[in-house]
């Protein structure tokens, strides 16, 4: 299936992906309001990592046989039968953190204010991941295989 892959050589660690992800998952969809006004503050589902000269962004890997789906206590984590993407239903989530415990990518964010976890949904509503669209260096690609 198509996933978002980071190209380490192109990423400059600017962090815009985090900003756009947060805004895309806010209720106002407005960067100023999302950062300053919205309470609880929306959570970015992508994480920029920087270590010495290396940088890249990480989000849910939508694994086959995903460990979070297997571990989830409530059935909130599921696999979309059509696309194969791992989906999360905040309505069913109880913030038990069992999925966080088993995610090797550390890609599941804890939203303590809302009492749920949050993760990349590949921008399911728009169909096109905003982190990929907005990355100024094309360091993120939405593709069938790693770059």
């Amino acid at each position: 299936m198509k996933k978002v892959y980071a190209n380490e050589r192109l990423c400059m660690g600017c962090g815009l992906c985090e900003v756009y992800c947060l805004v895309a998952h806010s209720s106002s969809k407005d960067v100023v309001k999302a950062y300053l006004k919205e309470r609880p503050k929306p959570v970015s589902r992508i994480r920029k990592e920087v270590h010495r000269s290396l940088s890249f962004a990480v989000q849910c890997r939508h694994c086959d046989e995903a460990p979070c789906v297997e571990a989830c206590l409530t059935g909130a984590m599921n696999v979309d039968e059509k696309s194969g993407a791992v989906t999360h239903d905040p309505e069913r989530c109880v913030e038990c953190l069992t999925c966080v415990m088993v995610c090797p990518a550390g890609a599941i964010k804890v939203d303590r204010k809302l009492g749920v976890v949050a993760k990349c949904d590949l921008c399911a509503t728009s169909g096109s991941p905003v982190c990929v669209e907005k990355c100024p260096n094309q360091a993120l690609v939405y593709a069938e295989a790693p770059p």
């Binding site: 953190l97 995610c103 090797p104």
Partner: protein, 418 residues
């Protein structure tokens, strides 16, 4: 009646096995025998049910449609005898079922303490939906509740009762709560939060005797002579695998049912998974029961695949727990209180309310505890499970920004390029 696949128990392990069998074989006949009110509810959610946060709908891990959609014959009964020679089981209701392959996904049962001066019915336990309902019914007149046991279940129960406005006394025999899963400092942080929420935490104490005080009120006498009144007494001192059915059938049993990596018992057409079985603990290097939801799901899936003829092996797990009670997110795994010399790294951030601790042996992570900031727990568990030598980036492990970027490219790609 005969079924190609007969599954006993209708919980985590059973659900996974049904899913796995159906993913391989659309046509085989499957029956599930369950003996609780409903199959497919999530046991770990009973504290949320008791707290009044979830109704029965919210508790359902799989809806009733799940079973019909997967063409599973649901049988509400209990298996009372297994006859492996004739491949037949007897039901409490008098029926008999023949099977081609059978899975014992029958879980565990609560351990109850021996207490003098009290009838069995007055000592509650907390492992099933029915237990939660029974306790809930009593709460209209019970205001003080004593919980025996400061493990995960006892703590989850204490939180639920606190949310219902009850005065909770928690009595733990060991010098601190969660003494198996946490180190001393983490235990103390949690105890502090429990006390702040109004729970009276009595550690290093046991109930010596129980007396009737009048009505349904009990007077508990502790081993140091102190006394406490309680309107309701619940024991949460642990669960043990429900092995008697297997034992009587001549299936090999240790502390749990012994199985191979395919989850097959000593009788080839009988499988076992979840809380009733022993699995490989990779942190301790031995087989033992691990009563955990993800283990039941994972091992149930492997059992299902093999029952349907697809070879698959269970890679094992370890004691690993995520919990989020009393406003203390905690994830802990593996060996956290080492006896022999191990290297222990720890970091306490009192202002940020977080505490991290990692136990290393010969360059490998063998255990960790994260409290407060827990998002990187999965990566630590991965490094531990894959036995990745962390010496080269040891200094980074406790850094708040520790992540995949600190790892060698090969390991990083394994995770990122899945």
């Amino acid at each position: 009646m005969r079924f190609e696949h007969l599954i006993v128990g209708g919980s985590a392990g059973a659900v996974s096995a049904v899913e796995a069998i159906r993913s391989v074989d659309k046509g085989a006949s499957i029956a599930v025998v369950y003996d609780e009110e409903v199959p497919g509810y999530s046991r770990p959610l009973i504290p949320h049910f008791l707290a009044g946060e979830l109704g029965l709908d919210g508790m359902m891990f799989r809806s009733m449609e799940f079973w019909s959609k997967n063409r599973v014959r649901l049988i509400h009964d209990a298996v009372v005898e297994v006859d492996p020679d004739d491949r037949v089981v007897k039901l409490a209701g008098g029926g008999r079922l023949e099977y081609g392959r059978m899975l014992l996904a029958i879980g565990g049962e609560p351990i109850t303490p021996e207490l003098e001066g009290i009838d069995r019915e007055e000592l509650y336990t907390f492992t099933t939906l029915e237990d939660a309902e029974r306790i809930s019914t009593r709460l209209s007149e019970a205001h003080r509740v004593a919980v025996i046991g400061g493990g995960f279940i006892g703590i989850s129960l204490a939180e639920a009762l606190t949310k219902r406005g009850k005065k909770v006394i928690l009595i733990e025999l060991k010098p601190r709560v969660l003494s198996q899963a946490l180190d001393e400092r983490a235990s103390r942080i949690l105890e502090g939060k429990m006390a702040k929420a109004g729970v009276e935490v009595l550690t290093g104490r046991a109930v010596a005797a129980v007396h009737r005080e009048g009505g349904r009120t009990l007077r508990l006498e502790l081993d140091n002579g102190e006394k406490r009144l309680s309107d309701l007494l619940v024991a949460a001192i642990g669960v043990k695998p429900k092995v008697h059915l297997a034992e009587e059938a001549g299936i090999a049993v240790n502390s749990g049912i012994t199985v191979d990596e395919a989850m097959r018992t000593s009788i080839p057409e009988i499988y076992a998974c979840g809380d009733v079985a022993e699995v490989y603990d990779f942190a301790h290097g031995l087989h033992r029961p691990l009563a955990l939801w993800p283990v039941a799901r994972g091992s149930g899936k492997i059992a299902g695949y093999n029952m349907a003829g697809l070879e698959a092996l269970y890679e094992g797990a370890t004691a690993m727990n995520a919990m989020n009670y009393f406003n203390a997110p905690i994830i802990t795994a593996g060996l956290v209180n080492p006896k022999s010399p191990h290297l222990v790294l720890s970091r306490l951030d009192e202002r940020g309310g977080s505490y991290s601790r990692i136990v290393l042996k010969d360059g490998l992570i063998v255990g960790f505890t994260l409290l407060g900031e827990v998002e990187q727990a999965g990566l630590l568990l991965y490094l531990m499970r894959r036995r990745i030598d962390v010496r080269r980036f040891k200094g980074k492990l406790l850094h708040p920004q520790f992540g995949l970027s600190a790892l060698p490219q090969k390991v990083r790609r394994e995770v990122l390029w899945k």
